[in-house]
């Protein structure tokens, strides 16, 4: 004799632990533009994004350092990575943002021309550096991916900040 529907629904169900997750792990990326080129930083290296923030200049800074900002009591530098990446400078406008990031015990604000997207991407979406990648980007890049039919170069913020601290850019 078949069980009734009530009896069927009352039966213990298989534990969720028995469900095998076949999804590929993903990683968050912050995608942005610098001088018309698209770049990405790992989400875990970007703490905050400011679309508007008062930047105070400090005498004696290199031209690629805009100055400092006050992030709720923490003083952070704001750098423009254009020179480090051998890109032409773009004057900050209403579309520009400051990414507050941390890597290799260094932290700083990074001025970007425009934040494009925040995305979750599987590891399989990331490809090795192509031979055509500019030489200046290679020590700072970890891979490339395609997004909106554009090539995005993924950067390691720790390497970028270390290079800047060494006097590059």
């Amino acid at each position: 004799m078949q069980p009734t529907l009530d009896e069927l629904l009352a039966q213990p169900r298989p534990s969720r632990d028995e469900i095998v997750n076949v999804d590929e792990p993903t990683r968050k990326w912050v995608l942005f533009e610098l001088s018309g080129h698209r770049f990405g930083l790992p989400g875990e290296q970007v703490r905050e994004i400011f679309s508007r923030a008062k930047v105070f200049s400090v005498p004696g800074c290199p031209p690629s350092m805009e100055g400092v900002i006050n992030v709720r009591g923490d003083i952070e530098t704001v750098i423009r990575p254009h020179t480090l990446l051998n890109l032409s400078e773009v004057e900050p406008d209403r579309a520009s943002s400051i990414l507050i990031g941390r890597g290799a015990e260094l932290s700083s604000g990074i001025r970007v021309d425009r934040v494009v997207d925040l995305v979750d991407l599987p590891e399989s979406a990331i490809h090795p550096l192509p031979a055509t990648l500019p030489q200046e980007w290679r020590p700072l890049a970890t891979g490339v991916l395609a997004h909106d039919e554009r090539v995005v170069t993924l950067l390691d913020l720790a390497e970028l900040l270390k290079a800047y601290a060494r006097g590059m850019g």
Partner: protein, 131 residues
């Protein structure tokens, strides 16, 4: 607030900006007009080629090893700064700053008359001999 929670600083103009020295490093301040030209300008000590300040005050600076004078821009004022408004130089700023002497940044509340960060100079870092 106890004594360790504040720092007395002497504010002055240098390179067109407001800067500070710990008051403990300033022995005296007087009018600097008509002084012998051997007294260095503060910009010379800071190793900056930025536009000079009109000098009108002379600071007598004392460090653990030296005592010297330098010319700074007026006004020269004494302020007591809460410790929480004194910040270490951010690492990239410390790495790339071309000036000699900066040790920290004083960042006063935004509604203060000096909302811009003020470089706090440590005269011990000038490394000059007695002048």
């Amino acid at each position: 607030m106890n004594a360790l929670a504040t720092l007395d600083v002497v504010l002055f103009q240098a390179a067109g900006r407001l800067m500070a020295l710990p008051a403990s490093q300033v022995r005296a301040c007087r009018a600097g007009k008509g002084l012998e030209p051997s007294v260095p300008l503060i910009e010379t000590l800071l190793a900056t080629a930025m536009p000079e300040t009109p000098y009108s005050m002379l600071l007598e600076v004392v460090t653990r090893k030296n005592a010297f004078s330098c010319l700074v821009g007026a006004p020269v004022t004494l302020h007591t700064v809460p410790a929480h408004d004194i910040h270490p130089l951010p690492p990239l700023l410390a790495a790339r700053l071309s000036l000699v002497g900066p040790r920290a940044l004083i960042v006063l509340p935004e509604d203060h008359s000096h909302p811009e960060p003020i470089l706090l100079i440590d005269a011990e870092r000038f490394g000059m001999t007695s002048a």
